[in-house]
Amino acid sequence: MKLNRRNFLLVSTAGAAGGAVGSMFSPLSWKLMDDSSVWSQNWPWTPVPLDGEVSFEETTCALCPGGCRVKVRKVDSRPVKLEGVDGGPVNDGGICILGLTALQLVYGPARVRTPLKRAGKRGEGKWVEITWDEAISDVSEKLAELKGAGQSKAVGCITNGAKGVTSALFARFMEAYGSPNHYWQATAWDSYEENIQRTLGLNGSAGFDLEKADYILSFGAGLLDGWGSPVRMFQAHSKWRENHDAHVTLVQIDAQLSNTAAKADKWLPINPGTEGAVAMAMAHVIISKNLYDRGYVNWSTTGFRDFFRTVQTEYAPEKVAKIACPVQKPEYVKKWTEELESRAIAFAKAEKPLALAGKGNGDRPVSQAELNAIQSLNALVGSINREEGGMVVIPDADKYPWPPVVLDADAKGYKPALVTTKGRTKYGASNLLSNLPKAINAQHGGLKALLVAGANPLYTLADTEETAAALQKIEYIVSFASQMDDTFTYADIILPDHIYLESTVDVPTPPGFAKPVYGLAKPVIDPVYKTKAMGDSIIEIAKAMGGTIAESFPWGGFGDAMEQAMNEKWNALDSDGVYVNEDFQPEKEGIRFRFFARAGMEDRISLQGSVEKYPLVITPCDTIRLSTGALADTPFMVKTVSDTKLKKRELVVQVNTMTAQQYGFKEGSQAILETPVAKATVLVHCSEEIAPGLVGVPRGLGHIAYDEFVGGKGTNYNTLISPVQDPATGFDVAWGIRAKLT
């Protein structure tokens, strides 16, 4: 045989064929085929969660003031999920969309994992990691330097509200340090506090016995859109639906078909900003038909005569319909007016009627005029401090029984706060954060240093440009943020806070809850990163500064301060995590409600921008799926946001189909939304859920920081608007702004 090319080819083919046949009878091909499929079932880049012993630990959620009792499910020491605790006084087993996702705040990419110091220019995003010792001494040295230079009033502090031990510690620090510039951003609940002082002369916050009320008039309060303690509200709503012996009626008076309006028994659409006038018109009906509670009005109110006269002359429903009815077609106006009247009558005739206010999820203040009008309705039907189903005043808690603040000469000296206003509030200038940027930019002194604790002013304040300019002027910004939030980008040094699961946090009575409840979060997991509770950070800063400041903070740590602050509640809180004052009775003796005659229309807050240039009005849309406060959405929450609110990276605005047609837009059209303060590219969603002439802008989008899941999505509502001051309080009560779509 010759080994030529052909034969060689033949022989090798035969060999290969033999090999092929052999491989069929050897495990090689079969085993490798099987193994490769098993490999695809266990790809090394697909994570395998570690197994272990499951345990549950209870705590109180501190992500919002809602005060829900939650439990964390742990696998060994690893938290894997949050669930509601059955029997929790506020939430009884329920949990909200934010509470469910707290672990994404713990482990997410936006978490600040260690103290940081700015390395590059502001906003450049360059940071160096520093130790806690370095961070504390950096801050205390800077503050000591300013104080030494007689600049103590040039240090500002922004906290998240007035309530709670952490805020109190920061307030105390500012007092000892000698600066009057401690601020927080007012909400609808601050408005209620102010109104309670004005109408009832009490220091306290508003509570609503919604579970027992049987006829609820909601003036724009997004009861199911995050208002109050959200889980409690959902449960109250379900109770209304279950209560078929005495059906509970919810009437939503709202500019748009919000979720609350959609779930209400009746939605009465109005033009935004006319809530007060509509309330006055209802008062007109109730008084005209003689349906008001004479006993209450005669014995427990003052100023009724003036009120009566104003209402009778100026707030006839027909008159109010001219400004408040969203569709000015005669037949519809007639229908609308009849509806208003019949609802007012039903309200007055109900056994336990209750009227409430709130501007969507309630984190925006309400004007005193509007509140006066709405509270007048409650007074007319006697639902203020009523036994059941009414509005009660939860008295302010006593001051924490801490030793008095030690003041040095500098701190004792009077210094005016940077923010001044014509209005007056219970807390002085403190809850007028909305006026701070303007004050800083107004060039008189300004601030040299700012502590930002639990707040995110760059995001939450109206007119972002103004806020940014103000922040830019401050030399030294200290952020205590746990997440890389919007304000974080302007900070010079970060002292990252724990997430509540890692620390001790108190949760005072949730807004709107009708009984004093106090919750305590206790650490249920070990701190995952190098973070520290804000309370501990400020105590350590105080101690590092020495002198009277250190003397004012005599505690070993935040835990001690907390225990002392909680006083007689501590034992209950320590063991159960929650304290409920079941015996609470609202103060009634000698309490008189004061009617304000000038309540509704005259004081209607007018908006910036001319009608000619800006024919449309922006009105915000709130949904519980979008966090609007200092804390942004979590990745899971963003995932649930509708594509009629956010599409890719663009904000979607709601426009009535007719209005859209009028301006030549179709579903999904791109448009420029322009207001007197800003411009943004948006997409148009044609909707029947909003009145013609309005542009519904979802709040809670457009964060400039955070991670790829949360940041850079849409436009922040606050960048589009500018603050409008309530003449009574100075709060920012802008309910929208004029705009145009091109």
Binding site: S23, F25, P27, D35, S36, W39, E53
Partner: protein, 265 residues
């Protein structure tokens, strides 16, 4: 090189004898190919496919079984009914806070074995107990993430029957007074393969070598040691088919398969 025409001419003259030669050569080549591929498949592949790893501590089950009452004394169930698997350091420390055994005397009868045990314990105490470090045991029976296995169900279910020698298809063992030892149940699936022999773990004096499939990361005990995939005993392997077979035979009395979600998660 010769052109095609030339080959053709050669072919004409030598066609007959040449084709016989070519045929023989081809046959031979085919045989070689067959042999090589069988050799590689059956003998070389298993050696390449599995990594051989030794346990961090050569644990002696047999000695420990003298001290405790059955497998679940150490391989415990938690209160929620889940099975905890290999004991944790905290369990071991109950007895082994310090070295328990005495260093054997070279005169001893089985000095080498005793020395091995002694060294293992010293290693355990020095490396793990002293440093409060969990022992990274290699788990022979570790199932992939997609599998749910309830030890409680298998330990307590009346439908689960211990079969003679753990043989597939063998009759159930009749226990006196229904006093079925729990170890018998464990041994239905968990046996130690030491030097090719299946030994109940409770009697094993050392731990088998842990073999891990380099592609799938499965323990060899899961896919089965028999490379052809044929098994005689339930404990020979623990693949899905094996579970399904047992569920068919025992749980459903040969009538049906179970739903996927019984064993998957």
């Amino acid at each position: 090189m010769s052109g095609p025409e030339k080959t053709q001419q050669n072919g004409a003259t030598h066609k007959k004898e040449d084709s016989a030669g070519v045929f023989a050569m081809s046959l031979f080549a085919a045989g070689i190919g067959l042999y090589v591929s069988l050799f590689v498949g059956w003998l070389v592949l298993p050696e390449l496919l599995y990594s051989k790893q030794h346990q961090p501590i050569d644990f002696n089950h047999a000695i420990h079984m003298e001290q405790v009452d059955g497998c679940t004394d150490c391989h415990v169930f938690r209160d929620d009914g889940t099975y905890a698997g290999a004991p944790t350091l905290s369990q071991c420390i109950d007895c082994h806070e310090d070295v328990q055994s005495v260093e054997p005397d070279p005169e001893d009868e089985n000095y080498e074995d005793l020395m091995k045990q002694y060294k293992a314990e010293v290693k355990f105490v020095e490396e793990y107990v002293a440093n409060d470090k969990e022992v990274p045991w290699l788990i022979y029976a570790r199932q992939p993430d997609c599998v749910f296995f309830s030890h409680a169900a298998h330990l307590n279910s009346e439908k689960f029957k211990v079969l003679e020698d753990g043989k597939i298809g063998a009759p159930p063992v009749e226990f006196e007074d229904d006093e079925e030892p729990e170890d018998a149940r464990c041994n239905m699936c968990h046996m130690a393969f030491i030097k090719g022999e299946a030994v109940p773990f409770g009697e094993a004096e050392s731990l088998p070598v842990y073999e891990e499939n380099r592609i799938t990361t499965y323990s060899r005990d899961i896919w089965g040691r028999n490379f052809s995939g044929f098994n005689k005993h339930y404990y020979d392997s623990a693949k899905m088919d094996d579970c399904a077979q047992c569920h068919n035979d025992q749980r459903n009395e040969g009538k049906s398969k179970d739903a996927c979600f019984v064993c998957h998660k």
